[in-house]
Each structure stands twice: as C-alpha cells, then as structure tokens.
C-alpha cells in the first residue's frame, strides 16, 4: 500500500526565485524521493547569438543573468581573445578584476538576504539589502548602470577607473569592513538560524567530487576548487588569493547549509582584500583596450578562425563559454555552460531524508541561478532529446489544437 504522497514544488513557487520543477515523494514530513527537472526558462539565447556579430554577442551574454552580469562577458571575452590571439593590456586586466570582485560582493549579499527570507527571517532580508545599496551605488558610479554594467569589450574594457574615482572605492571598502561584522553576527550567532541551518542539507566531500559540484557549494564541503587560484588568469596571478573553506572560521568542515553561509560571507571579505590589492598595484597609465576603434576590431574579428574556451569564477561557480569562429561575421557556435547546471544534481543527495521545511533553504543555499541554465531535455522511453526552437514551437501549437478540440 502506498503511504507516500507526491508534492510538487515549482515551476512557480514562493520558495524559488526562478522556475525549476521538483517532484517529491513524501512520507508524513520526511522526503523519500526527489526528482528534478530543469529547463523551464529556455530563451534560445545561443541561437540568437548565432545571428549576431561578436560585438553584439557581448551584450547578449550580459543579459543571460541579472546577478552574474559580468561573469558571462568575461568568459566570452577570454574565449574570443584566445581565438584572435590578442593580449589584453595590464591596466585593463586590473579593471576587469575590480569589477568582477564588486559583482561578487553584491551577489553574495543579495544571496544572504534571500536565504534569510526562505527561513522566514524577513528582518535580515531588509538589513542585508540595505547594506547592498552601497556597492550598487559604487557600481553605478563606475560603470553607468546598477545592473547591466557593459564594461567589457574584446581586448580590454570600455571605461577607465581614474585616480579621482579611487576615494569613492575606498569609502565603500571601509563601509563594508565596518558593517560585515554586523551581518556575520546576525547570521552566524543567532540561535534560531543555527537551529534551522546546522546539520541540514549535508553534501559530503565524496558526493561533491562525484557530482562535480562547483563554486561555494563544493568549497563548503571541503573540496578545494576555485578557477581564480587553479588557473590564475587575468590579474589574479599577481594577487594574494587562496581557497576559502569553512574551517577557516569554524575549524571543521561539515558541508551543511551553515557552512555554505560561512563560505559566502568569508568570500565577501576576501573580495574586499582583492580590490584593495588591485588599487595598489594597478598601473596608473596605459591603454585600456587593445583596439579602441570598434570598426577595426569588428573587421579583425571577421577574419579570424578557430575555437576557444573561456572560464571564469562567477559568484556561483565556474562558468565556461565555448566559441567557434569560421571567418564569417556570425560565429558558428556559441555554447554556455552555467555553474548552476552542475549544482542541480547535488540537490538529490542533499534533500533525501530531510523535511519539507528544509526544501527552500537547501535549494537556496546552492544559490541557483536558473536563468543561466537554459537547456531543455526530454526523456521519452529512455532516450534523451535536445529540442530546438522550431521543435518547441511545433509542440506548443499541437498542444493548443488538442486543448481546443476538448
């Protein structure tokens, strides 16, 4: 006799910030089985990319996700620069790193607020988003817009960070150093938070390695994986950077939700250090782009051939872009592998055996950004198919006709 019932969470649910489909088999309040279906936000961005020239794809890549806004252009630029064999000037590398670290700060504080909301602690949501306003103002001052920063171009950056902008950056760093203590005190010392997050949603080191989890999710389980340290690209090679694992603060690694909070809050402080180091070492003069005149750049890019891979450590993990150019204006292929794609499967071992009340906080603790993960797969009779835009259109027209016949 079946004693379990099925509870669907998603695609639309207050616990999830973006659509993903969960189907749980629940016995009382305990989860017995989990099934995850992603791909509800497919927008066909890669197809649009094959109809545009490389400069236009930069802005398309920026709009894949609103939070990891700089990570996608960064990886894309590295891929194309590898193909075109251009070397980015040193000043531009430092500016890129500063903007990327500012984005990491804003993303982690945003995540902290969302995690608090999932546990029902709205006051911490308002507090953290209030603290986040400072870095958003700084980003607006440096780049012209709070979210879509449009700073990158192939071979460098578009705007300079001049010496008279330094005081504002230093003010922001000082503000955050004073206030991160408050945020850490609320998150890590509060008794009800500990009751909810400790020993909940555990991802063992073994599972994290087998399922190839990336980003803070895997670092919280003790796996030392970070593209900035492993590959030392851009200006990261000159900076003093190390892996952040929870035993730096608490002394032991458990791999639960609490550890993931610790890792993200420590990473914010690491980003503040990195920005300070960049400001010290950045050369005060120099080009900010290899080729400032865009028509010449476009003409060069039209003639190169080859394939390239660009990697970057986004706030959520490692993002990979693969580009293939064949000497025409439009690229032959552009493929995006977002970090959340790797972090979805670890949800299954994390959620088995937990209660329903743990579902939102465990899912949120891996910081899913499903807008980045845009692929539709259908499993029919055990075969997997990847559908294109035309197939989806045909299926939806068929379904409308079926419904109209009823």
């Amino acid at each position: 006799m079946k004693t379990t019932y099925t509870l669907p969470i998603g695609p639309i649910h207050p616990a999830l910030k973006e659509p993903v489909m969960f189907e749980f088999e629940i016995d009382g309040e305990k989860i017995v089985n989990v099934d995850v279906k992603a791909g509800q936000v497919h927008r066909g961005i890669e197809w649009i990319g094959t109809q545009r020239n490389p400069i236009q794809i930069l802005y398309l890549a920026e709009r894949i996700c609103g939070i990891c806004n700089i990570s996608h252009p960064f990886a894309y630029c590295r891929a194309v620069e590898y193909i075109a064999d251009v070397e980015v000037p040193e000043k531009a590398e430092y500016i890129r790193v500063i903007i990327a670290e500012l984005e990491r700060i804003h993303s982690h504080i945003l995540w902290a607020g969302v995690a608090a909301h999932e546990v029902g602690f709205d006051s911490v949501l308002y507090l953290s988003w209030r603290l986040r306003e400072n870095v958003m103002d700084l980003i607006e001052y440096l780049t012209g817009n709070r979210v879509t920063k449009a700073m990158f171009t192939i071979g460098g950056v578009r705007r300079d960070i001049t010496k008279d902008q330094y005081p504002k950056i230093e003010n922001t760093i000082k503000y955050y150093r004073e206030n991160m203590g408050k945020l850490k005190h609320v998150f890590l010392d509060d008794k009800t938070f500990k009751l909810r997050c400790r020993d909940c949603g555990i991802l063992t080191k073994d599972n994290a390695l087998k399922l190839c989890a990336v980003g803070p999710t895997t670092r919280a389980s003790g796996v030392k994986k970070d593209v900035r340290v492993d590959q030392a690209y851009s200006a990261y090679g000159d900076l003093d950077i190390d892996y952040i694992t929870p035993d730096i603060l608490t002394g032991e690694v458990k791999g639960d939700v609490y550890d993931r909070i610790v890792v993200r809050l420590l990473e914010v402080e690491q980003s503040l250090d990195l920005i300070e180091q960049c400001l010290d070492r950045m050369p005060t003069s120099g080009n900010i782009a290899v080729e400032e005149k865009i028509p010449k750049l476009l003409a060069t890019l039209k003639k190169v051939e080859g394939e390239g891979i660009g990697r970057h450590e986004a706030p959520r993990g490692e993002v990979i872009h693969y580009v293939k150019l064949t000497g025409e204006e439009h690229p032959y292929t552009w493929k995006v592998r977002a970090p959340t794609y790797n972090n979805i499967l670890p949800w299954i071992p994390m959620l088995l055996g937990e209660q329903i009340a743990d579902i939102p906080i465990v899912a949120a603790s891996t910081d899913p950004c499903l807008s980045c993960t845009n692929r539709v797969a259908i499993v029919e009779n055990g075969k997997k198919n990847i559908l294109t835009g035309e197939d989806l259109h045909r299926l939806s027209v068929e379904k409308t006709r079926r419904l109209m016949r009823k």
């Binding site: 545009r52 020239n53 400069i55 236009q56 794809i57 930069l58 802005y59 398309l60 920026e62 709009r63 602690f121 006051s123 911490v124 507090l127 209030r130 103002d137 607006e140 001052y141 012209g144 817009n145 879509t148 449009a150 578009r158 705007r159 408050k182 005190h185 609320v186 010392d189 509060d190 008794k191 009800t192 865009i294 028509p295 476009l298």
Partner: protein, 137 residues
Amino acid sequence: MRFSMVPELLKQLFKKPFTNKFPAKYAPPSTKEFLEAVKKGKIKIVPPVETPPGFRGKINYDREKCIGCQLCVKVCPSQAIEFKPEEKKIRIYISRCTFCAQCTDVCPVNALSMSDEFLLANEDKLAKELIREEKVA
C-alpha cells in the same frame, strides 16, 4: 540564548526609515488624479536618488553632425537603430534600446550621447517620446 537581531531592531525603531519615498509616501488612491494634480502643481513629487555623472540614460541624437556612415546600425545588439536612406540619417527606437552605449562609442563624429533621463515608461511602444530622429533643441 543569542537573538542577535533583536537589539538591532529596537535601535532601528527610533531612527529614520531607509526608504527613498519616491514618488509619494503612500500609494495614492487613484494614480490618474495624482498625476493630474502633479501637472497642475498642487502636489510635489519626492525626487528620486541622484544619478551619478556618466549615467547611461536616454540617448541624445545630434542630427546636424550625423554623416550617415551606418556604423551604429551595425553594432546595436538589439537592432534598435534604423537607417533612413533618403535623408542619410537615422531613427532610434528607444523601446528596443538596451542602453549599452555601444553606438555612442562607435560614432566617428560624436553625434550620439547618453543623457540621465530614466523615467521613460509609456503605454505606447511607438510614442513620440520613444523615437529619436531630430536634433535635441
């Protein structure tokens, strides 16, 4: 028993709220009447937060300087710029613009620039405010 948030909350109770009260403190019962009263000058709108210099807002087009090279048409990611062959000038559709300022960078004669206007909401995609083709007076 550490309840870390409670002292913070009690302190905050006596301070000013952080909200920027744009456009009014409470939602008006009827938006249409509110906007008409603002036009007549009876109610003042609380101003929004100041934008910094270098803000990428609505685009400004200087028709006299434009030479019709069509470079901006080629680089616009959302294909929001249309070339008018008979006059050799362009028309920009703000409803499609993504405010990336790529056209501003590419223009060889600096005919385009970004202003700091961002209150651009409108009910009609092709309203007069959302199409730029003449010189800004």
